[in-house]
């Protein structure tokens, strides 16, 4: 069982990742003879204030993800239909441990963020063991 360890940043639970299209979308492109975009390395953050993983609009565009279902919800800007996308990701630390998912449901954040491109929410936390050691200035995540 991989355990990824990271330094606890003053800005929170930051961790690097590769993001790309989900496996089904990649398969579709391959079957049509189309090129598959390479996964993009991004900075991500675990944010327990997020219910569902959110991805910035610029990253959604960059990987070319297409929306699937939408849900009506209440946002800071009022009622809205929020689209869902599917991505793949690999989280990795600096000693080579990694956690990957080939299909992960996300929504797009209302706007681009200056410092991170993905806010992993409680949907990720519920499926892993997340340990935060404030005194030790590190956090770890197990698959």
């Amino acid at each position: 069982m991989p355990r990824l360890m990271f330094a606890l940043s003053p800005d929170g639970l930051l961790l690097p990742a590769f993001l790309g299209l989900d496996a089904a979308a990649m398969q579709d492109l391959l079957s049509q003879g189309m090129p598959v975009p390479r996964p993009i390395q991004v900075q991500t953050q675990i944010d327990t204030g997020s219910l569902v993983t959110g991805v910035t609009p610029r990253l959604i565009r960059a990987i070319g993800a297409a929306p699937g279902g939408s849900a009506r919800t209440l946002t800071a800007g009022g009622f809205a239909f929020v689209p869902f996308y599917r991505i793949s990701f690999t989280l990795f630390d600096n000693v080579g441990a990694s956690i990957s998912r080939t299909s992960w449901l996300v929504t797009n954040l209302p706007q681009d963020l200056p410092d991170v491109d993905v806010l992993f929410g409680m949907d990720l936390v519920r499926e892993h063991r997340l340990v935060i050691d404030g005194l030790g200035a590190y956090f770890s995540i197990d698959s």
Binding site: G12, A24, Q45, D47, G49, S50, L51, V52, G54, A66, P67, G68, G69, S70, A71, R72, T73, L74, T75, A76, F79, F81, V82, F84, R86, L105, T107, L109, P110, L113, L119, G121
Partner: protein, 112 residues
Amino acid sequence: MIVVHEAIASQAMPESSAANGIPLDDVPDIADGEPFAEEWRAFKQRAQRLVQEGHTGRYALLKGNQLVGVWDSLDAADLQGRQQFKGEPFLVQEIQLFLKPMLWGLNRPCRA
């Protein structure tokens, strides 16, 4: 003492307030011809019955005025919709009698 606290809390806070939700009856309809107008109307019409049937917290998949089905998770409902509707828009709505807010990064607004 804990039992007393729970009893007081349950009386003080209706279900929609507990989830910071808006009762469905207070959520405005979508004008005809706008995206998801049919799906939203179909969901509102069926929500009460779906709750009574024990589907609260599950996810309804709707296309046009049709309820396609109910799934245990958002992920499963979305996956079914993608396979069935191949790039066409569809609605995947959590079955509740109130509309929950979508929360992202509670620390974000303060930094902007």
